[in-house]
């Protein structure tokens, strides 16, 4: 075969090898690449004493702010299981019931998650306020998000 054909095969083979190696590495890394666990995953395989990330939706009617003004408790749910969370500090602008959140903190044997940090996660829908209001008025609005939120 010509030099050019040989070079072509070489490059293609090299790319396939790299692709395969990359896939193996990423599958092996698995846990470390994932940013957070869902409540179901956490309850199934609890990890104590190490900082972990827990993500999900803020459960409706679960947010309670304490008398001291800075602490807050709420529940994170993935629509199957939920975990109570305690947090002291500033919450992001987007934080509200039904919103997606990602927290970092420690899980305790009594079943509480004490969060060090609470980040808000928004879905991939973008629309003007009027459109959102119209959807809510017509009953087509799903507060827990239409798309990405369901993947919890």
């Amino acid at each position: 075969m010509t030099r050019k054909t040989r070079r072509l095969y070489f490059v293609v083979a090299g790319l396939l090898l790299l692709g395969g190696a990359g896939a193996l590495v990423l599958t092996a890394l698995g846990d470390y690449v994932t940013l957070f666990r869902s409540p179901t995953e956490l309850l199934a395989e609890p990890t104590y004493e190490r900082e972990i990330q827990l993500g999900g939706l803020v459960e409706e009617d679960s947010v309670e702010r304490h008398e001291d003004g800075v602490s807050v408790v709420f529940r994170i749910t993935d629509l199957q299981e939920s975990v109570p969370v305690r947090y002291t500090g500033i919450l992001p602008d987007l934080f509200r019931e039904g919103q997606g959140v990602v927290t970092a903190g420690t899980y305790y044997p009594d079943g509480t998650f004490v969060a060090r940090e609470v980040l808000a996660k928004h879905d991939e829908t973008y629309m003007p306020r009027e459109v959102a209001d119209a959807l809510k008025a017509s009953g087509q609005w799903r507060p827990d998000g239409e798309h990405g939120q369901e993947s919890y």
């Binding site: 692709g19 940013l35 957070f36 919450l91 602008d93 980040l119 996660k121 209001d133």
Partner: protein, 240 residues
Amino acid sequence: MHRFANPARFLRIANALLPWLTVGTVACLGIGLYMALFASPPDYQQGETVRIMYVHVPSAWMALFIYVFIAIASACSLIWRHPLADVAAKAASPIGAGFAFLTLVTGSLWGEPMWGTWWVWDARLTSMLVLFFLYLGHMALMGAFEEQSRGYRAAAVLALVGVINIPIIKFSVDWWSTLHQPASVIRLDGPTIDPSMLWPLLIMGLGFKLFFATLLIVRMKSELMAARVRALSLAQLRNA
């Protein structure tokens, strides 16, 4: 493809295209900017910060697109020894690096008010950072060698090795749990962006792409001239 292999022919076509590309770039960016800042609504959820999307997303699209462009050029260089391939890769690299950097910075500026953090090591952000480093490595390799063809070859190999990162970036938000949200435009069910916001985004996207094409031609012309300058200088030294 081999019709364009002749540099002289490439330059003729490139020079003919240049004025049109320049006008197109300015027009698209002008209209896009107007729509992004004035003629589009704030988001129901993210308010005025959504306007950052009109520079963040096109930058991300370009960072990915230019890398794929460089990877294809690198393959052409390594397999077919296409004479313009290395020139194209060298010209494109700094443009891509800049867009990758902008993606990260505008992303941080968007993430801090909305998510509550400037940075997080999730799969999307991390792989985007890797892309930026790949660009820097590519640029470094091209300039690092005394004998230019060696640098071109090393850079081409790096570009191809790193191309695995592109699908990782694109699908990171689907394969792993990330803070960054899933795709809003290029997805199977269709875009999840209201038309009033999708149009500015697409026009800005086109503007960025035309900007790349325009600047690419300018930089390739420079590079071809630089090669001729080198050759002439060498010849004159020999004749002196």
